[in-house]
Each structure stands twice: as C-alpha cells, then as structure tokens.
Amino acid sequence: MERRDFFKFMGATGALLTGTSAQAASHQPDFDPNEGVGVLTDFTECIGCRECEWACKDAHNMETPPLETYKDKSVFAEYRRPDENGYTVVNRFPGKGCGEIDLDVKVQCMHCNDPACVSACIVGALVKQDFGPVTYDAWKCIGCRYCMVACPFEIPAYEYEVALDPLVQKCDLCITRLEAGQVPACVEICPRNAMTFGKRGDLIKLAHEKIAEKPNKYIDHVYGEHELGGTAWMFISCEPFEEIKFPKLEEASVVRLPEGIQHGIFKYFIPPAMFYGFLGLIMNLMKPKSEELPESETEVHHD
C-alpha cells in the first residue's frame, strides 16, 4: 500500500512540477488483481436470511436492531439498495430462482480492479489497495461526491442529513478484519456458505468449475470477471444478471480513457507550457508598432 502511495505521490509531483514522469501517476496497476482477495457469491445458495446485513453493521459498529429481527421478510416487498446505514442488502426476486423458488441477491461494493471512484477522487481519499479492497479515508475527503457520480454500480452513499463531518459510506471489504487475519463479517456469518472468500484468481477458477459441474443450474456468466476490467467481488447465478438488476456493462475499464486524456494533456506539463510560450510569442509579434515606445508599453497591458 505504502509503496503504491509513494509512487502516486512521485507521479503527481512529477507530472505537476518537475516533469519526471507523468506515466507513474496514470492508472497502470502495479499489481495483479488476481493475486488480491475477492469474494465469490453463489446466489443459488442464498436463502435470504439477511444475517449478513446484521453482521456487516455489527462489524462496522453501526446501529442495528437485534439479529432475530432480520427474520422479517416484509422488507423484500421493495427493491433496496445499500446506503449510509448499511453497506450490504439482500433483495428477493420471487420465482426467479432455479425452477420455481425465489432468488435472493446480496449486493455491496464490487471493489473494482479499476475503480472509477478512485480515479475520480480529487484528494485520493478513495484508494484501491494492492490486495483488493477499495477503501475510504474520511480525513482527506472534501465531500464533493464525484465518486458517487462516477460509480457505475451506484454504491457509495452519503450522509446528507449530517451537517458536520458527513461521510461517504460503502463496504470496505472488512479491511480491519482482513488485517487481523479474519474473513469479511458477511462471509463468516453466512449459514449456507453462499460466499467464498479467497484469491481472486482462484475464485474465477472455482466459479467456472461450479458452472461446468452443473451447466443446467447456472447460467454461463461469472459477473465481475470481466465487467469494466473486472471486480474483486464476483457472482454466479441461475438467472441472467440483467433480470436481477445488475447493470449490463462492457469489458473495457471506464477509467482508461479519461485518465489517458488527462495525462496526454498534461504530459510532463509540456503542453500547457508550450501553449504559454506560443501565446507569449503571438502577443509580442502582433504588438502594434506605435506601442514600442518604452513608456506607453505600460498602458498596453494595463488591465
């Protein structure tokens, strides 16, 4: 992590001041996302007990009613999204699951390999950690909400009702638990083991094995393997993902083009400097002859 920060710092410094290397600041992953961690969720295993919702709040010290109350199935009446009061939610799609039963679908931050929120963040408050999670450093955040505009999955939420110190809120893949050698709280509590935590590369293999084993049960699509350059959290399902409200996305990362433009325009800070010189040249060449008297020069640029 620290090494990455260092390179980014050097890159930004270089790009803006000394002109040593604009490339270092551009989004070239200096790690293999498949070596980082991720989670594979098998929706066919999910029973909609919503214990993961409770475990998530518990792990993040958020206010929550007791675990028993999560047995209430009335919340499935409407489609819910993660918000500032809960980083993950389970939705039920009646009759969408493998045959006649319901399909329960847990959503949370995808922890993209090329996160748009990280690319957007004006102060680097959002960071893609080498080992997988996309984390948020509230101390840096200015509350501009560009990350929310940028996120293709509409995940970051914001404390609009908080006057002082409002935060951007989203799943952090339980980074404090990971650092303590534990798995994410939702993964741990799941009574059906619907989620598998592991190395992203291994999870992709596992997902394809599961699909190959039961081709009639699963559709042949690991959501998150390729979407927008891939995500750390991936899913397999028996229902096409568009049917369970997952956005249909192309494989190309959304951050490359804007970052390419940005670094093209400001490469080594040469283009702006050249433009400055060019304008200075025009200003000098086009100066009217009469203005060349030493004193009247002051007046030309007076305002």
């Binding site: 509350g143 609009y160 927008l228 959304v254 200075g280 086009m286 640029h301 305002d303």
Partner: protein, 402 residues
C-alpha cells in the same frame, strides 16, 4: 490619450427598487446557506444517492465557470492579439470573471459536504493526478488569484492619491505610495498574468467536460462523448463574447448610459465564428458517433437536446450573422442572451439531464431552496458588480445619458 483613462467610476446612486429586490434575494440565499450549514445538505436539497449533484453544481459551478469565460476570451482578443479597439470591454469582462469565479467558489463551498477541507487538493500528499476534478480545482484556485492580481491596477489607479483611512491615518501615506507604485509598475509585468489566465482557462474549462467522460456508463449518448473536454472548451470560448455583450447592454440600461454599439456591433462579428466552430464540432461528433437517432426518438432527453441546440446554438448563430441584429441593441441583446442561456442549458443537460442513475427511483428536481440559493448568489454577484463599477474605473464613460 490612453484608452483606459476613459474608464471612470460611474458615481451613481446605489439603491434603486431593483437593487432592493436583489438584496432581498441575496438575503434569502444567506438564510438558506445558514440552514444548510446547520442541518446538512439533506435539509434543503433533493440530492440523494442516485443524484449526488444538483443545480448547485450544474449551474453555480459548471455554468458559472463557463459564463466567466468573457475574461479569458477578451484578454486574448484585446491583449494578446492586440485588438485595441475593444479596450472598453476589457475591464467589465475582467470584473465579471473575477466576481464570477468568486461566486463559483462560494457556491461550491455550500455544496461541498466537508467544505472545511476544500484546501486539501493543494497538499502534495493528496494530489491525485488522475482526477479531472483535481485539475479543475487547482486551476480555479490559481486563476482566481490571477484575476485578483489583474484587478489590482484598477484599484490602485483609483485610490493612489485618495487614501483616507478613518483611524489609521499614519498608514495613508505609505499605502498611497504603494498604490502609486503598483499603478505605474504592475503594467510592465501584467502580460505574465494575462497569458497565464488564458492558459489556465483553457485547462479548466476543458477539464470541466473531461470530468464527465468517466461517467460513460451513466450518461445519455447525446451528450457523453470522448471529446467532451473539447466541446466544453469550445462552448466556453463561444459564450465569452455574448456574455460580455449581455452584460454591457444590461449595464448601459441600468445606469442609463448610451449602449456601446460602436464597439459591440463589430465585436459581435466574432460570435458566428466561435459559435459556428462549437456547433460544427458538436454536429461532426454526433455524426461520427452515429448518435443523431437519439435526437428524434421523442424522449425527454431528445427534446432537451433539440431545444439546447436550436435555441442556444442555431438560432443565435443565424441572428449574429445579420447586420441588422448586430446594430440593434435589443436584437443583439436577445441573440447574445440566447447563447448565454444555451450554454447554461448545455451544462444542465450534461450534468443533470444526461445523467442516468443505475437504480433510478425518481428524477431529480431541485427544491425551491436550491433554486433560491442559486438565484440569490447571482443577485449577490450583480450587487457587488454594481457597487464596484460605481466606485472604481471599470466602465467607459464619455457616453451621454440616453
């Protein structure tokens, strides 16, 4: 015989019925801002997870920056390619840009959730070179400073021999000497800042468009494009002169001066060039990207697009080509206002109308409070403008009361 000597303080009465209305509107905005700072953004806005940005970003910030483009476009015309015949327009444009950017920052501070951290982007440890917003932030901060520096000579010229402080009388002399020094010497180095202002404007005007390139998956194809940055730059350049025209004619009317038609009419000839370049780029882009079909599919977006392009682009383009329009204060005002509103409409379209949340519950519509804050900020800008042109040599006089 230098031209700038003709700019004089207008020395008129400040308060008129219209000024009282603007004062009331500005006061309302201050109250709304107070409520927002005490109770949070949720208390006064309709912003939510689906729509993190509303009119405070689309109008106060994005349109505000575009409409301040009169500053760098006129600086280019008058100081860099030395079209000295338009000198009379220079100071009003500079003042508008300075106040425009000041209010962009004020509007941004109201919108930022953690406004007390607004200075963070200047810390090297938080630089984020991948973010177009970072580029916008740095440029706006620098450019605002440049604009204030460019404004110093106007203050110095007016007060160098008139420093008269109420209590600190001993400061009168040194301050007067400082102002006299600035008045005579600053002109020699001002070209540094004039060029810098143009470069910085090119950079952040375009980056405000580049900002939305990242939002590809959530934007309507009529507005999203890989060359949004270029389109934002060209539209800013196109709106610069019309904004100066609108403001000049409005000021003439308000202060009962003769409209500066002898300057404005030839000046207006540039508009079809800049506006035409912008429109041609938009059209070529839509053609190459094969997105024209969306313009006629009858959706809300298609109507907004057609209205923006016709009323804010094609119609004023045709109007500006007419000699008759360029010579009539009223028609010229209407044509220029169309361009101004067209660019505001474009920024609203790009930031709000084209923006499609993934899990759309209901479309964002601003609250009355959001609208009143925006209106109040514009009112505040006009109030300060009026105050400054009454007391400082900004507008060219030598024009008789009509």
């Amino acid at each position: 015989m230098t031209e700038h000597a003709m700019a004089v303080p207008l020395k008129q009465k400040y308060f008129t019925p219209g000024v009282w209305v603007l004062t009331a509107l500005f006061g309302t905005a201050l109250v709304i801002a107070l409520v927002r700072f005490l109770l949070g953004l949720g208390a006064v806005t309709n912003l939510n997870t689906q729509y993190p940005w509303g009119i405070w970003i689309a109008i106060d910030v994005a349109s505000g920056v575009a409409l301040a483009a009169g500053g760098f476009t006129s600086a280019f015309l008058i100081h860099i390619i030395h079209k000295e015949e338009y000198h009379a327009l220079s100071r009003p444009a500079l003042l508008t840009a300075m106040l425009g950017y000041t209010f962009v920052v004020l509007g941004l501070l109201v919108d930022l959730g953690r406004y007390y951290n607004v200075w963070h982007p200047i810390l090297p440890s938080m630089w984020q070179g991948n973010s177009a917003l970072f580029e916008v932030g740095m440029c706006v901060m620098t450019y605002l400073t440049v604009l204030y520096i460019e404004f110093i000579p106007i203050v110095a010229e007016q007060y160098r021999d008139r420093v008269n402080l109420p209590i600190f009388k001993f400061l009168n002399k040194p301050l007067g000497r400082l102002l006299a020094f600035l008045d005579t010497k600053m002109g020699k180095i001002m070209f540094i800042f004039i060029i810098l202002g143009v470069v910085l404007s090119f950079m952040h005007q375009s980056s405000l468009g580049a900002l939305m390139v990242l939002v590809k998956t959530k934007m309507h194809p009529l507005w999203w494009s890989p060359i949004l940055a270029l389109e934002f730059l060209l539209s800013a350049i196109a709106v610069g002169f019309p904004m100066i025209i609108v403001e000049s004619l409005a000021a003439s009317r308000s202060f009962k001066l003769k409209p500066e038609m002898s300057v404005l009419a030839p000046f207006a000839r540039y508009v079809p060039i800049t506006l035409g370049l912008y429109l041609a780029t938009r059209f070529a882009n839509l053609t190459i990207r094969e997105t024209w079909g969306y313009a006629f599919d009858g959706s809300l977006e298609s109507w907004f697009f057609l209205a923006e392009i016709f009323f804010g682009g094609i119609l004023p383009f045709i109007l500006f080509l007419q000699e008759k329009v360029r010579r009539s204060p009223l028609l010229l005002f209407i044509a220029a206002l169309l361009v101004v509103l067209g660019v505001v409409f474009n920024r609203i379209n790009v930031y709000l109308v084209a923006y499609k949340p993934v899990y759309l519950a209901e479309r964002y519509v601003p609250t009355l409070w959001e609208i009143l804050l925006t209106v109040g900020l514009v009112s505040g800008l006009i109030l300060i403008y009026r105050f400054l042109v009454i007391h400082l040599p900004v507008i060219h006089a030598g024009r008789k009361t009509s």
